[in-house]
Amino acid sequence: MKENANLLFVFLFKTPIEGSGYSLAWYILFVFIIAGALLFFAANFAGITSFIERRIAARIQTRVGPNVVGPQGILQWVADGIKLLLKEDLIPDRADQFLFRVAPYFVFSGLFAAFVALPFGYGIVAADLNVGVYYIFAITSLVVVGIIMGGWSSNSKWALFGALRSAAQIISYEIPTALSLIPVIMLTGSLSTQDIIKAQGGLPWDWFVFHSPFTFVCFVVFFISALAEGNRIPFDLPEAESELVSGYNTEYSGFRFLVFPMAEWANLWVIAAMVSLTYLGGWQVPFVSIETLSGSLVLIFLSVAVFVIKTSIVVFIVMQLRWTLPRVRVDQMTQLCWTYLVPFCLVAIVGTMIWMLIFPWETRVALLLRLMMFGIGFAFCFFYVRRIRFNYFNDKTAYENLKKKSPWYPIWRLP
């Protein structure tokens, strides 16, 4: 990023930065600009995603969803935000005043700091840390500190139970999350997010998911444990509405409450971006090598688009899972982690090591095996589409007899 700062300085003021004497001030200003841009992205992504998720959830339940504020309800999230901003900032009488006020900042800063190491395209990353993945794990653990602080200081049993569950969940799920990325790190030989993407290719059989059956297992494990770390359904035990009112944020109101759901929505991007950069090839554009990619501005924008599309698809799947699955019990949650995900991960790590020794990445046999894995994955997707088709046509005639009109109303046709 320092080079970009230098380039921008030269572009704006037509003088090299070394001799100008403003280098320190410029770098600090540049840091603030980048932070502002990331905050702008995170906040707007959180808001727009909340609206889109409500619409998708509505369509899954054959409803319409919010469609009154603005054209097709697109401004609903702004209205919600303004409503919450205008509310009174209540603090319970017996609450621990200081911790109660501070907790939301911990939650949001923990999540927002993860954006620093997340790439958006070729060379577009706030800081290309050489410990990028490790940094993201470490910094997102700050969220659990904020949640426990909020739950404890609220002086409410619901909030305390939510915080306890959250602590148990996030701490235990850090282990499979970290373990399931070890194959990726072994294959890359680096912890940097950019290097991980560069080690993959643009075409699906060059992604790490299809490297071997073991990495595929690790991909599934990583996806599940990332959901659990982000408190998404089916692992939303810390804020289970039917059991704990609203969990750790029960006593919050106004802007302090707004921070919690906003952090959760922003976390959706972090989860999806992590999944897509580690296993799904990140910003790699098909049929374009990294050397040609670095030369052209259009191709760099194309890489951003590829990354955003991949991430959006993962976000969509996470949303759909939320409206498909019921919430797991606490014992099921811990059982899943310790008796299924962790052993599977350990086996997969050893398996990947052996696989790497027998079939090195460049050999023709390895490519053939990757193509085979991709074929299996493609067949899986094909079968999925067939099942969707089957479910649709299964109810079609009954619907037509009842309502005298076709049930065909795809998601892109807005009601």
Partner: protein, 199 residues
């Protein structure tokens, strides 16, 4: 070991099937009726004929048996009958239904032998004043209906759109505004309020 791997397989397969079901719903028509903004046809046409909307009385076929008044569990129907002692004719002088009380159970319309009282499809009768919801169906005394052998009033076509109730409610509202207008000069604040109500 077999139950362990079976559990994994069933979990993944059931999630897969569940996802396929929810995805298929993304391609189906939402069942929401977007009242009142985006209706394909007026809502009163979409409602079934047995919809229990606001009650309506066809006073021309009422026989004055008062069964509806007796069966009503919350006494929202009030009927007065009078008899001319010379001609021995009976009159209906009052038939009020308090719609604000009515719970739309349908007991009155089930028991009516001539279908004089029945539910319409009219449902949006919200007003700013609760008193306006007492609908008076009799303005001047009406001679009661007598059964004839050649015609059965049950087979006649009912006015399901609720024209009579709508007319009565509008008339009552106008009447109220007229009386309010006469009181206007006394209090300027109330005058302002009434103007708003009219608008």
């Amino acid at each position: 070991m077999t139950p362990y791997f079976n559990a994994v397989a069933t979990t993944l397969y059931s999630i897969f099937e569940g996802m396929a079901v929810t995805t298929s719903y993304l391609f189906r028509r939402p069942s929401t009726i977007q009242y009142p903004n985006k209706l394909e046809k007026p809502l009163e046409e979409q409602l079934s004929d047995r919809y229990r909307g606001i009650l309506q009385v066809d006073t021309s076929v009422c026989i004055g048996c008062r069964i509806c008044e007796k069966t009503c569990p919350i006494d929202c129907i009030a009927i007065n009958l009078e008899k001319n002692k010379e001609t021995k004719e009976r009159f209906l002088t009052r038939f009020d239904i308090d719609i604000s009380k009515c719970m739309f159970c349908g007991l009155c319309s089930e028991n009516c032998s001539t279908c004089a009282i029945y539910h319409t499809k009219f449902f949006n009768g919200a007003t700013q004043n609760v008193d306006e919801l007492v609908v008076r169906f009799v303005d001047s005394p009406i001679v009661l209906y007598k059964h004839r052998k050649d015609s059965d009033p049950k087979t006649r076509e009912k006015d399901l759109s609720g024209v009579i109730v709508k007319q009565k409610m509008v008339k009552q509202r106008m009447k109220k505004q007229k009386t309010a207008k006469q009181e206007m000069p006394v209090n300027k604040i109330s005058k302002h309020k009434i103007k708003e109500e009219i608008l």
